[in-house]
């Protein structure tokens, strides 16, 4: 079986017409877009929670932490019910499209990114608080400097989000439908091959997913390292 997995992996990589790159590309596009949108929302939400005090703040905090453990299937179901033709947003015609998958993954990872970034921003913001007060910085300038100085830690948060979204199958298979050439991504393809009993193919796809995750993480941690060496500590 090991031989078979290796040869399947190589065969997959060699045969450009296997649709592999299409599936890989869609995975990256869907998860990448979801992470970008989640970061836009999550960093703002995390930043607000980290730097302001208001009623209900700790309730939101608890809710965010709890929703980090939300099963992807449940998120998928919620999005399915919203986007279904019989649901409130059915008129958009988004179910079984990559957009629906992006929406589901955005909902899935925004709490993760918000909760993790809140912790990072709050720690740094508190650390800088007295110095910034002494400098008489405006609230906006304090936030800007904190976010900038936390950027590499926040990049790690984004990577955690990318990891969760690239690896989840529960949400995308429900709202995407695993349609060939349209909404099939790495994880749903793996689920399909598993259900066909083609385990070597499923594992070959898994190996490719892992390789991609390794590549992305290596690239970003190299970037991170060189940046740290330069000025960030």
């Amino acid at each position: 079986m090991q031989d078979s997995i290796l040869s399947r992996t190589l065969w997959l990589l060699k045969s450009a017409d296997s649709g592999l790159w299409e599936v890989v590309g869609l995975s990256l596009r869907v998860s990448g877009t979801a992470v970008l949108i989640s970061c836009a929302f999550g960093f703002i939400l995390g930043g607000v929670l980290a730097t302001t005090r208001f009623r209900g703040r700790s309730a939101i905090h608890i809710f965010l932490n709890a929703s980090m453990s939300m099963p992807p299937v449940v998120v998928g179901l919620i999005v399915y019910m919203l986007l279904s033709r019989s649901g409130p947003l059915g008129w958009l015609g988004l179910l079984y499209t990559p957009t629906a998958m992006i929406i589901a993954q955005t909902l899935l990872i925004t709490p993760l990114i918000a909760a993790l970034s809140r912790q990072i921003i709050e720690d740094l913001f508190n650390e800088y608080a007295e110095q910034f007060a002494s400098m008489r910085l405006s609230f906006f300038k304090k936030i800007r400097a904190t976010l900038w100085d936390a950027r590499f830690s926040l990049l790690t948060v984004a990577l955690a989000g990318l990891g969760r979204s690239l690896s989840e199958v529960g949400a995308v298979i429900i709202v995407g439908g695993n349609i060939e050439h349209l909404t099939r991504v790495m994880t749903t393809a793996i689920a399909l091959e598993t259900s066909k009993g083609d385990l070597p193919m499923a594992l070959a796809l898994g190996a490719i997913l892992l390789t991609i995750a390794l590549l992305i993480n290596t690239l970003l941690s190299m970037l991170n390292l060189s940046a740290r060496r330069f000025a960030y500590a």
């Binding site: 649901g87 079984y96 009993g197």
Partner: protein
């Protein structure tokens, strides 16, 4: 931060492009299908023939029959292609399906480990075989997911007067999974399982498993196709959908289905007329 904003905007723009490019195709049909037809590769085989003949493209969502019917009830389909005649007729009666057509058939089989602890190998009497499995308390893996195959299996147990509810969790294992996952589990725990022949032929993880029971008339597996009712669901692409059903039922379509085979074995037998 500025860069981030830009990226977000670009991402949003990309989203809308994706969204609009998908709903644009009038000749594309959304098919809610049972897994056996999809996983066996039938659509992959039919698609280019259909495209060349009619210009129609298919987007196939492959789920269990129960789920497919629910999705159709939610108007999330143009076409429903499943294998549970009673549920399909109920859907038409409720007004969600226009008209149900017989399309093709194959048969169910019982597969199991070659050591065959219940000694059912070679039998063509499914009722007697199930009784033997129950009496010997041999492990049996059930779909347990309200699919067409699952509904068929329950009917067969009823026919053999076996109370599977009490046995559930003991020798009877309700997997709550698709056909492939259930077969994987059956192979993993040397359990018997009921499957449609198409899925079995295209299934790649057979190990020492064999077809043990086949050929009983009760194991007949009829596939039906219907158009989701545009009067209930305004989004249904009725014209193209009807064109697709007509094509499937035409000589061209039926011949194409008949010619689909894996390892020289025909998987589906057309019977539209």
């Amino acid at each position: 931060m500025k860069m981030n904003n830009n990226l977000t905007l670009k991402a949003l723009a990309a989203l809308f492009t994706i969204a609009s490019s998908i709903s644009a195709h009038a000749d594309t049909l959304l098919v809610q299908s049972t897994t056996s037809t999809a996983n066996s590769g039938l659509y992959k085989y039919l698609k280019p023939i259909l495209k060349a003949d009619t210009g129609i493209e298919l987007n196939v969502v492959a789920v269990g029959t129960g789920q497919a019917i629910k999705n159709a009830r939610n108007c999330d389909a143009d076409i429903l292609l499943v294998h549970s005649k009673e549920s399909e007729e109920a859907l038409v009666a409720d007004g969600y399906g226009v008209k149900r057509f017989d399309l093709m058939y194959n048969d169910f089989i019982i597969v199991g480990p070659s050591n065959d602890p219940a000694s059912v190998s070679g039998s063509s009497d499914v009722t007697a075989s199930l009784l033997k499995i129950a009496q010997s308390q041999s492990t049996f893996a059930s779909r347990g997911d309200d699919s067409g195959t699952h509904k068929k299996e329950i009917k067969l147990w009823d026919g053999a007067n076996v109370d599977i509810d009490t046995a559930s969790g003991h020798w009877y294992r309700s997997m709550g999974s698709g056909m492939g996952a259930t077969l994987n589990a059956a192979v993993g725990m040397s359990a018997y399982a009921l499957t449609d022949r198409a899925t079995w032929i295209s299934y790649n993880n057979k190990s020492d498993f064999k077809i043990l029971v086949e050929g009983d008339n009760k194991l007949f597996n009829q596939y039906g196709v219907m158009l989701v009712n545009p009067e209930k669901c305004g989004n249904v692409n009725a014209h193209t959908g009807q064109q697709f059903i007509d094509w499937l039922r035409s000589d061209t379509g039926q011949n194409a289905i008949a010619k689909f085979s894996i390892d020289g074995q025909q998987l589906f037998f057309p019977n539209a007329n």
